[in-house]
Subunit: 109 residues, 2 copies
């Protein structure tokens, strides 16, 4: 069943500003995760600190992965007031970010 379900991943790479405390960063992550409860089209959220072995990560420190069922779902999320408010809270705390969406596809042998 799960294999046939469509999934769009919304990946945010973020570099937090120098000087932010661990608690401030944790609050950003917690509020990001909280959007799952506020935005109907956002189905899941995971995050992780950058753990790269090789130095091709361009200084990004965190990865945020949100799951939607369609690109329309991402669109609804982007325009949702809860997301807009969160963006206004998060952005001033970031040095830089990159956002990319894709639909994970398996290569058939």
């Amino acid at each position: 069943m799960e294999e046939s379900k469509r999934e769009v991943k919304h990946i945010v790479l973020a570099k937090f500003k120098e000087g932010l405390s661990k608690e401030e960063i944790e609050e950003c992550i917690k509020q990001f995760a909280n959007l799952v409860d506020l935005v109907p089209s956002m189905k899941a959220f995971k995050w992780g600190k950058e753990l790269s072995i090789i130095n091709f990560h361009q200084g990004f420190t965190h990865v945020f992965e949100s799951i939607f069922e369609t690109t329309k779902g991402v669109e609804d999320y982007l325009s949702d007031q809860n997301h807009v408010d969160y963006g206004n809270f998060l952005m001033p705390q970031l040095d830089k970010f990159l956002i990319i969406d894709f639909e994970p596809t398996k290569v058939q042998p």
Copy 2:
């Protein structure tokens, strides 16, 4: 069970060079996927074209997501001759790339 299994994601963002044919790009993706059969620590592979609604993806055209169980698994993959050969094949076909690893974590409510 799945929740307790450790997972490290190795994300590659790529921008293919202008002028590559659809077939040449497909061959790059197919050979990337083929590494799952060649490199023991690489557990799964998915890919997708960039589908972003907003323009913060910095020109990257494709996302490649490989799954490992540990960062040691990523390390073994990076030094595996099959991966090295594939990298030598892929890199000249890219305008740019970004590679970042993370361990997807859920935020506990």
